[in-house]
């Protein structure tokens, strides 16, 4: 499957609507009505502060995201002592950059090399390292990914456009506990003179989950 194609994981939830009676005056769906009713109940009963709701949503929609993880990866690429700390005690090393907290309290960083390729999944729910990657994409939460990542990891990687040579060992990490996994991708060729900031701009979310490599800048520049 060409990952460049704009498509959505086995889900009907892809029309990017914005609720409320839409431009065509469509009625609210049952789910929208249920959610509205629940929110007014919780607010009326004083169980939820609407301003806190907005702050929670804003944090994960506009502040936390894969740009955080990209900074961790870039730092590890330029600073061997940091990389060592990252692999030995990931939570503490990541906290040096100011990233910590909910769904990332106990981090583990696993390193991709020319011999080993790591891939992260959560087959039972959709556990994901929020402080460094934000909230998970739809495909990560999909039944398709959760069912197959542990059964046919090479096939899944192929669908992301990554064909691994036979001699590379694949290690899948099923996040069944409160450990949260971040893949440290290989630093691509052709980046020798780049700054930490330039490197961070190359690192993708998918590379930090392990379904992609970080493309070398020469390749990425081509159409």
């Amino acid at each position: 499957m060409d990952p460049a194609k704009e498509e959505i994981v086995g889900s009907s939830d892809h029309d990017h609507d914005h609720d409320g009676p839409g431009p065509h005056g469509a009625p609210l769906t049952e789910t929208q009505l249920r959610v509205k009713a629940l929110e007014s109940l919780l607010v009326d009963k004083g169980l939820v502060d609407p301003a806190a709701l907005d702050a929670l949503i804003d944090t994960y929609e506009t502040q936390v995201g894969p740009h955080n993880g990209a900074r961790v990866v870039a730092r590890a690429w330029v600073n061997p002592a940091f990389k060592q700390r990252l692999l030995e005690n990931a939570s503490a090393a990541i906290a040096e950059l100011g990233f910590a907290g909910r769904q990332g309290e106990d981090m583990v960083v696993i390193e991709n090399t020319s011999k080993v390729h790591n891939l992260v999944v959560c087959t039972l729910c959709s556990c994901y390292p929020w402080p460094v990657l934000g909230l998970p994409p739809v495909w990560y939460k999909s039944a398709a990914y959760r069912s197959r990542a542990v059964f046919d990891p090479r096939g899944v990687l192929r669908e992301f456009g990554l064909e691994l040579p036979k001699h590379v060992e694949v290690r899948v990490w099923d996040s069944t506990a409160e450990l949260r996994y971040l893949v440290l991708p290989e630093r691509p060729a052709g980046t020798e003179g780049m700054s930490e900031e330039q490197l961070a701009a190359l690192v993708t979310r998918n590379a930090m989950i392990g379904v992609a490599r970080v493309p070398s800048p020469a390749k990425a520049a081509r159409p």
């Binding site: 929110e39 899948v172 099923d174």
Partner: protein, 219 residues
């Protein structure tokens, strides 16, 4: 429980297809469900394992036919009623029938940054003595509890090797059922793909699963 959520190894779920530039939320109602779930969690009436267990109790056909935040909505409604914060009548009619039960610790906007960055680790300083060390060969128990478990079905009865000892963590199988934290060692256990899926699987590859002492037996 052997629910639809326990997806590892199932066939027929289709190809993995990624949306290239997807937004964090696809609908306004997803934002609200996300926010309400986190905010309600801070009321302190349930733990994260109970929240997972609540979502797992969505009937299998519905679970597979709905999206992630619909699972969250189902779980949240269930917990709010189960813990007595809303009555089934209130949930059905959408009309409040009285104040909330106790004085509650409600999350305020000014505290959001602080509570998120502090998080809440499931690591504990003390627990049961460890039963295994890295390199030990283990068998994942063949259990099928009706309640919550983090031992996925595809690993049960399979042999693996302890790869690393993560330390002492809350045990979700009891914590999710209101039976206490029962802190014990949690390990990364390496299972070869061949052990999990038979001779057709790649010889070189493996799955690492985080499991606790109570999930494992010595080989």
């Amino acid at each position: 429980m052997n629910g639809a959520h326990d997806l590892g190894g199932m066939h027929g779920m289709g190809p993995v297809v990624a949306d290239r530039d997807e937004p964090v939320f696809h609908h306004e109602w997803e934002r609200r469900v996300f926010g309400m779930t986190l905010a309600s969690g801070f009321l302190g009436k349930w733990n994260i394992d109970m929240a997972r267990y609540a979502r797992e109790q969505m009937p299998g056909p519905s679970y597979l036919n709905t999206t992630y935040y619909e699972h969250w909505l189902f779980g949240l409604e269930r917990l709010l009623v189960e813990k007595g914060l809303l009555s089934p009548d209130e949930l059905r009619t959408g009309r409040p029938q009285g104040p909330a039960p106790d004085p509650l610790r409600v999350l305020r906007a000014r505290d959001v940054g602080k509570v998120l960055s502090e998080g809440g680790s499931a690591r504990r300083s003390q627990g049961a003595p460890r039963r295994f060390k890295p390199g030990d060969r283990v068998l994942a128990r063949n259990i099928h509890p009706l309640g919550h478990t983090r031992l996925p079905r595809y690993a049960r009865g399979k042999r693996g090797v302890i790869e690393r000892d993560h330390g002492v963590f809350v045990f979700p199988d009891t914590n999710g059922m209101g039976l206490g934290e029962k802190p014990q060692h949690c390990y990364s256990v390496r299972f070869t793909l061949r052990e999990l899926w038979g001779p057709g699987a790649s010889r070189r590859d493996s799955v690492h699963i985080d499991l606790w002492d109570d999930h494992l037996e010595p080989v």
